[in-house]
Symmetry: C2
DNA sequence: GTCATCATGTAAGCCGTTACATGATTGC
DNA sequence: GCAATCATGTAACGGCTTACATGATGAC
């Protein structure tokens, strides 16, 4: 499967420099997906990405973050810098290792985002979509359409298999609820696709405004409802 | 996490004897969950369960032989059984290894089903519910209520975390859709809980009537044993 | 001076996958 | 006799978790 954690880390680092502990918090609080990722996988992933040149540790003394300082600021991994900062900063913590994404990391990120090779579950799709603003409009459309096709296929498989077996109440309830959930996911994708398409026709500058509007007709009704 | 595959295998074997290939088919076609389980995990799981005494290989020639031949893998014995089977059965395929659940396997199954220890994802809950007829009514209620509490908590966490951050359209859409999905899951559980409760209060004879009123099919003589 | 929280890491292991290897039976 | 399907297995590996180990800081 796709390195979903790598993708998430890089996606968060696209926005601002972060250290591991804070990355985990944002994973939990901000995205909701990957809520329970453990440090035992997070820190090795960060070090792996650093070794691969996709991210780099930020030197504390050189700080240029003029914009949003995210309550955590950015501190160093260097002892001297830490000591100097300990008195000046009110939130000077321990040996934070703050990471920043590199150009090659950006490239890796979009490659991971647009990767079509591997089977996609709800989690990996959700993560991709959450970072979809970093994709080109065409790749965004492709992502949505690919996911839609997968869900439609799954719906067909369920409908096809269901006809001749005799399930008890509980098993049937599970199957039916699954069917409904998938159908609703498809309907959601249809709304996103409609927005995306009308978006592409609108002027590029107005994009975010247009994107907020919803309620456009899906291009095709979801069948197999019951 | 809970051995979700073991649970599925045992659950299917509760109903009838099956060989590995057929178990996989039923996993895919009948339950829908665990659709893509691979042989590379299925066969080792079966052999593990056999070693643990939870299932046993069915001797083809001797149908009702009470002598439990533990199928320790003696080559000659298996070959003989294969040859015997090949001519007797009209659908005599290759060296099928048909498994049957044992009494200790039944015990393991209900333990796995009712296990409260580990964190439960959608898949493991779906599987548990699909086999809920093997649970006592109390354990069934507990299963549903536990899952409901988890989802409510998750909803709270999302709502709590959402208020102060500024997400772009895509990320927000993901979060909102997640929220809606969880809410619908809770609503589904509420319907199941209502049925379950009125079911428990109604006289045993009236149960099917009650179930129909809730929009469910009347169940066949399943529960109460095990 | 000790506890909670912040912060980073390592080691062992589980659960499951893909890829590979083998063999039987049926239908053309 | 050859391909497709049925059928069972093994080997290598990958991602993620739990448990463990370490250490700083602030509050009481």
């Amino acid at each position: 499967m796709v390195r979903v954690l790598d993708m998430a880390i890089l996606g968060l680092l696209e926005e601002r420099e972060l250290h591991g502990y804070e990355i985990r918090r944002q994973l939990r609080d901000q995205l909701g997906l990957l809520a329970n990722v453990s440090f035992g996988s997070l820190y090795p992933a960060l070090n792996r990405l650093e070794k691969a040149g996709a991210v780099e540790a930020v030197d504390a003394s050189a700080e240029s973050a003029t914009v949003v300082t995210p309550a955590t600021g950015s501190l160093s991994g260097e002892w001297a810098a830490l000591r100097a900062r300990r008195h000046s900063s009110p939130r000077g913590r321990r040996s934070r290792k703050v990471f920043r994404i590199t150009p090659s990391g950006r490239q890796l990120f979009v490659e991971l985002l647009a990767d079509q090779g591997s089977a996609e579950d709800a989690r990996s799709f959700g993560l991709r979509l959450a970072f979809a603003r970093y994709l080109a409009p065409g790749a965004r459309l492709a992502l949505l359409e690919r996911r839609r096709a997968q869900l439609v296929q799954r719906l067909d498989e369920i409908a096809h298999a269901k006809n001749d077996n005799e399930l008890d109440v509980y098993a049937r309830s599970v199957v039916e609820h699954t069917t409904e959930s998938v159908a609703q996911d498809i309907a959601w994708l249809d709304r996103l696709l409609a927005t995306e398409r009308s978006d592409g026709q609108a002027s590029t500058q107005e994009r975010s405004t247009v994107a907020v509007r919803q309620g456009l007709e899906p291009r095709r009704a979801v069948q197999t409802e019951h």
